[in-house]
Each structure stands twice: as C-alpha cells, then as structure tokens.
C-alpha cells in the first residue's frame, strides 16, 4: 500500500494562500465569517496565554494552529449533532455556541465551565486521552437506536490514536454502523513525542482500512478543505453509510500547555517551516489575494476580535465565584446521608476560615 497515494491530503488553498483546488460549495460570505472566527479565536488563545503568564488563570492548553480544523468541522454539522472533545477543543466548542469566557473559567478552575449550555450538544471537555472517542460511538449509536437524525463527531489528537480506546471505538462503530465522524487532529506532537514515534504507519487515515470504514486525509490548516470534506463525510455518515475517520493534518504552533517548554524537544527550524502554513495567516493571504477582504477589513476584524475577547476576559474575571460547598453537588442526583454530614462539617470549617494555605 502507498498511503500517500491512497490517502492524499486534500487541500484547496496552499500555505501561501494560493488557490490550488476546487473552492465550490463555499461562499465568500462563509469565508468572511470563518475568517472573523479564526481571528477571534486566535486572539482569545493568545490572550489566555498572557493571562496565565500574569497569574490570572491557571494551566491553559492553547489551540493555536488548530482553529481551521475545529471551526471547519463544526461548521459542517447540524445543530443537533453531538460534539465530544478534549482539553484543546475549545475553538470547536466556541464556534458551536459555548461562550468565549468558558475556556478562561476552565483554566481558572471554575466548575461552571463543565456545564455546557443546553443549546449546545456537546460533552464537557475531559482530559483522559481518547476516552471521549468511545462516548461519541455510544451517542451516535443511541441516535441510531432512537431513529434520530443526528451524527456524533469526536475530536482527538495524534497521540490518542495509540490508545486502545481509539481502536476499540473504530471497530465498534464499524460493527454497529454507528453514525460517528472521528476527527484526528494530527498536530504532529503529543507533548514531546513526535508522530513518527507515536506510530509506524505513514498516516492515521489508513487505519480506516483495517476497520473497513471510510478514511480521508485533509489539510487541517485549510478551512475550506476541512469544511468541504466534512460536509461530504457528514452527508454519507448521516445517510447510514457507517462511520468515517478524518485525519486533519495540522501543527501545534506553540507549547503543549502553559506548563510546557517545547524548546527542550522540538527543533526550531521545524517550527518555522510548519508554522508558515498556519490557518489564520493562510486564509488571510487568500482573502486578500482574491480581493474578498482588504486591509481595512482586516483592521476592523482585528479590532472587533480584540473587543470581543476583552469582553470575555471581563466576564470571566467578574464571574460570580461558586460557593465552595458546591463540590458536594452533582456527585449524585440526591445528596447522600454521608455527604450531607460531610457538607455540614465542610461548611462549618469554611465559616471558621479553615483551609487557608500555610
């Protein structure tokens, strides 16, 4: 097998923003809207990094570089489709309708960030690598059992494809013909481990062959290609053709999280080379070249993004603190007898000023 030939990377605009493929099915207005989102999300991500450095939020996992994949995928879904993501997937959730201050609250350790608004059909982010992939299988399966017109999409990383959960999910979904779209965000690194060390396969997409499901590879930094691909894949999955595996090839532009130092393990020439094709600058080059947006538009979009992000930061920082004792809520539907007693003791301790550090 020649995986490069059987799973070619689909791409519509190249690193320099040149049109190299077929743009059909994506309007100028959609592109403008995508661009506005990409800039807003990038602005948010960079602000979050700075907030962490200033000690205003805790550990934060940046999604810079992966905005096109996350937005392009969600843009191709229907409102009732399920989204199951992980710690780096806040761009997908934001585009799906989760407030922009949620990722900030999440890094501030505010429990409300787990409570995704009812209008968004998404599970809370979780950190156990690959676990959510199986949930997507179950959600899709349940939709099928109940005759609902819903598919489930799950996001996960290249590292996650090494877990048993990933392989079990693909197999089970294939056997059950569950309407799931597996979106591997191949950002080429799992903390310090490069994809070449993660697997001895040339592509993630080729694993679809083993499970007899559809597999495609797309340039994850090209939002047009991602959007088109997902539209097509989702239509087939929705029509009952079984699950599909999409490998979006992208690049983690910076550190794994604010606690990580990539200079320890990642060559800077690789960073320079692979950052060049990053999704925001790429779309901008295209829009400029195609005359869809001009310098003034870009300035306005930047300014609006900044204002939107300022607002999100303000909301996050002034968000009402949750009472400490809410840690006893939502353990079970009803507070159990032992938990009632523990909560009373806890409450008293808080009232007495206990638990201060030092």
């Amino acid at each position: 097998m020649k995986p490069d030939k059987e799973f070619p990377i689909r791409r519509v605009i190249d690193e320099d923003g040149q049109l190299v493929g077929d743009r059909s099915g994506v309007t100028d207005d959609e592109l403008k809207e995508f661009y506005r989102w990409l800039v807003t999300l990038r602005t948010l991500d960079q602000r979050a990094w700075n907030l962490q450095r200033q000690g205003r939020i805790g550990t934060y996992p940046p999604f810079s570089g992966q905005e096109a994949t996350q937005v392009g995928v969600v843009a191709a879904l229907d409102r009732m489709d399920w989204i199951c993501g992980s710690y780096r997937d806040w761009a997908a959730l934001a585009y799906a309708g989760v407030p922009l201050y949620y990722p900030l609250l999440n890094s501030m350790g505010h429990p409300v960030s787990g409570n995704i608004p009812d209008s968004v059909q998404a599970l809370p982010v979780q950190v156990v690598i690959a676990a959510q992939i199986l949930h997507a299988v179950g959600l899709a399966w349940s939709a099928k059992l109940q005759g609902q017109d819903r598919v489930a999409v799950t996001f996960f990383g290249d590292g996650a494809t090494s877990q048993g959960d990933f392989h079990e999910a693909l197999n089970l979904a294939s056997v059950m013909k569950a309407p799931v779209i597996f979106v591997a965000q191949n950002n080429q690194w799992a903390i310090s481990v490069p994809i070449s060390r993660q697997m001895n396969s040339q592509t993630i997409a080729q694993r679809s062959l083993a499970y007899n499901i559809e597999g495609v590879r797309v340039d994850g930094n090209d939002i047009i290609a991602v959007f088109q691909t997902l539209k097509e894949v989702a239509a087939r999955v929705r029509a009952g053709k079984g699950p599909a595996l999409v490998e979006a090839v992208t690049y983690r532009l910076g550190a794994h999280t604010t606690a990580d130092d990539p200079t320890r393990y990642r060559p800077s020439d690789e960073e320079a080379r692979l950052s060049h094709g990053e999704p925001v600058a790429r779309l901008k080059r295209y829009l400029l070249g195609a005359g869809i947006l001009g310098e003034e538009d870009f300035q306005r979009i930047d300014d609006e993004a900044k204002a939107t992000v300022d607002e999100a930061v303000k909301t996050a920082e002034s968000y009402p603190k949750s009472a400490s004792e809410t840690v006893f809520d939502h353990v079970y539907q009803d507070l159990t007898e032992p938990l009632k007693q523990q909560r009373a003791a806890f409450r008293q301790r808080v009232a007495e000023g206990g638990g201060q550090r030092g």
């Binding site: 805790g58 550990t59 710690y87 501030m108 350790g109 505010h110 429990p111 979780q126 950190v127 156990v128 690598i129 590292g159 996650a160 090494s162 877990q163 048993g164 799992a190 903390i191 310090s192 481990v193 060390r197 993660q198 697997m199 606690a259 990580d260 320890r264 393990y265 603190k321 949750s322 400490s324 840690v327 006893f328 353990v331 032992p338 938990l339 523990q342 806890f346 301790r349 808080v350 206990g354 638990g355 201060q356 550090r357």
Partner: protein, 325 residues
C-alpha cells in the same frame, strides 16, 4: 553530601540503578527527550540511550502490559505513568496480570516491575491529575505499594523497589517534588520496603500519615506541641505490605491515633489502619481512632482544593478531640 530535592533524588536512583544493572530500563510518556514532565528522568536518555530510556506511544495499558512481559522476559522495567489519575487505564494489567502472575504460574514466573507515578493535590492541576488512588492498589494481593515523603526515602525506597522481585507501585507526592531539599548520599543505599518510619516521636497521640500528608502531620504536631500535646508522627512509607508492628507499638505507647490521608474517605486506606489498631491495640486505646481525609467527592477544581484537602488545622482539631476524649 549534597542537598537535593525529591525529584533529584528519584533521578539519582534511576541513574544508579541503570548504571549498576543493564537490564534496568525506563519507559513511559515523555520520559526520554523531555526528561519526564516533572524531569524525573532528565538526562537518562543521553546517558543510557534510546533502547533503555523509551518514549512510548501514548498508551498506559500498553506501557504496563508490555512491562509485565519485559519483566517476565528478564528485564527490569521501571514504567512511568505521567499522572497517577491515568493509572485507571492500567487497572486491568496491574490487577489481573502483574499482581497475579507469580500466583497463577505457581512461582514459575514473577514480575519484577516498578510503576512510578506522581500523585496528590496542592499543585492546582486539571481534573484527574491529583487523585489519590492508593487504596485500590492496597486491595490487590501480589502488588506492593510504596510512597516516600522525603528525598532521602524516595531514593532509598526506589532502589529497593527496583531490586524487589515483585511488582511495586511507587507513588510520588507531586507537591513534595521540589518542596524542600535534604542531604542525600550520592551513592547507592537502600531503604527497605515494608518498614514505617517515626518522623517525629511523641507520647500523647499517634498520627499515621504517608506521602504528601507527612509534612502536614509534622506541622500539626508542631502546633499541638505549642498546646502541650506531644504527637508522634508515623510515616508508613510502604502501604502494602503494611508495617502493623510499628503502628501498634506507637499506639500502645500513646493510646490514641489519628489517620490522615488525601484520598476520599470511604473505603480509604485509613479505614484499614483504624481496623488494625482496634484489632491489635484495643486495650491501649483511650479514644476512638479518627480519620482526617478528603471528602467523598471527586477531587475538586483548583479554586476549592485548599478547602477540600486535609491540612494542619483540620488535623489539629482531630488531635485535640482524641486527646480530650
């Protein structure tokens, strides 16, 4: 002798073990080039090469399951699980394989495997990373469970663990990795498994602690001392097999005991300690054995962590209660 942190002491132990025995190898996620996310394996890749310092694919069950095979095949694997919370991925391989192979094969095979993992709260991690899950593993016959609270013990216990013919779970209190330095011999030495340590001796009440709670117990003992209460702090160091004798000897002297752990309360290892005390030292007891523990909830978000975790204040209350009983 140099003063080193716990993480440096662990790094030294791994280096010495690999120097002495070419069968010793480390494997895990980000343990090679990155030197581990806490730098426990820093420098080992350069010293011992890629065959013995292995960045594995991201799969904990694969790490532990293959380490069971490596161990049976003649190697001495030291597997790192990046955070103890992710040990759930390996429960099957530890509980049904590593811990039972000797028993299953009636002694033909054994699994000299060490699984290291950072654990515990106080460092503001995201969900799952801070969980204290030791009780699950003390419930697995065939497995030993060890946790140090000082740099000196970390090195000596780890060297013993690597020498041990049976699988050892070695959990390292994250918040103590760089909390303080102490003098640690540069050379090889061992602290035997299965023996508790009197961290502070006293007469009125025994506080049984391990890992991250030992400094908390020492702080509470200090405060109690100011109120005229003499506290003995027992650092278990090895949870399984437990040093019953040391616990009983201490309680027979003091007549009172408090157990402290970060893990959730119900079914926690503190219950085991309390049961042993009432079985073996009932007539010495002047008061019921109390527990100071995490609450029966998932480990909370960082903003609530300090309130949730046992601290010196809460422990002191329990100490005072048993003394005044």
């Amino acid at each position: 002798m140099a003063k080193v942190t716990m993480i440096q002491a662990i790094n030294q132990a791994l280096g010495l073990a690999m120097e002495r025995d070419p069968k010793v190898m480390v494997l895990g996620e980000d343990v090679g080039k990155n030197g581990g996310v806490f730098r426990a394996t820093e420098g080992l890749l350069d010293r011992f090469g890629e065959a013995r310092v292995v960045d594995t694919p991201l799969a904990e069950s694969a790490i532990v399951g293959s380490a069971v095979g490596l161990a049976m095949g003649g190697m001495r694997p030291v597997a790192e699980i990046q955070f103890f919370g992710f040990i759930y991925e390996t429960m099957d391989q530890i509980g049904t394989q590593a811990s039972r192979m000797r028993f299953r094969s009636q002694g033909r095979f054994h699994v000299p495997l060490v699984i290291r993992a950072p654990f515990g709260g106080g460092v503001r991690t995201p969900e799952i990373h801070s969980d204290s899950l030791e009780a699950f593993f003390c419930h697995m016959p065939g497995l030993k469970v060890v946790t140090p609270s000082t740099p000196y013990d970390a090195k000596g216990l780890l060297l013993s663990a690597i020498q041990d013919p049976d699988p050892v779970l070695f959990i390292e209190p994250m918040r103590l990795y760089r909390a303080f330095r102490e003098e640690v011999p540069e050379d090889w030495y061992e602290v035997p498994l299965g023996h508790a340590r009197i961290a502070k001796s006293g007469d009125d009440v025994t506080v049984v602690a391990w890992g991250p709670m030992v400094p908390v117990a020492e702080a509470a003992a200090e405060k109690a001392g100011q109120e005229g209460i003499s506290v003995e702090v027992l650092d278990l160091r090895t949870l399984s097999p437990i040093d019953t004798q040391a616990i009983i000897a201490s309680v027979q002297k003091t007549g009172r005991a408090v157990v402290v752990h970060e893990a959730v309360r119900t079914g926690g290892f503190g219950a085991e300690v309390a049961a042993l005390i009432q079985e073996h030292a009932f007539l010495s007891l002047e008061a019921p054995v109390l527990r100071v523990t995490g609450y029966d909830t998932p480990f909370p978000v960082p903003s609530i962590e300090d309130l949730w975790l046992p601290d010196a204040g809460r422990l002191l209350e329990a100490i005072t209660t048993v003394v005044r009983y």
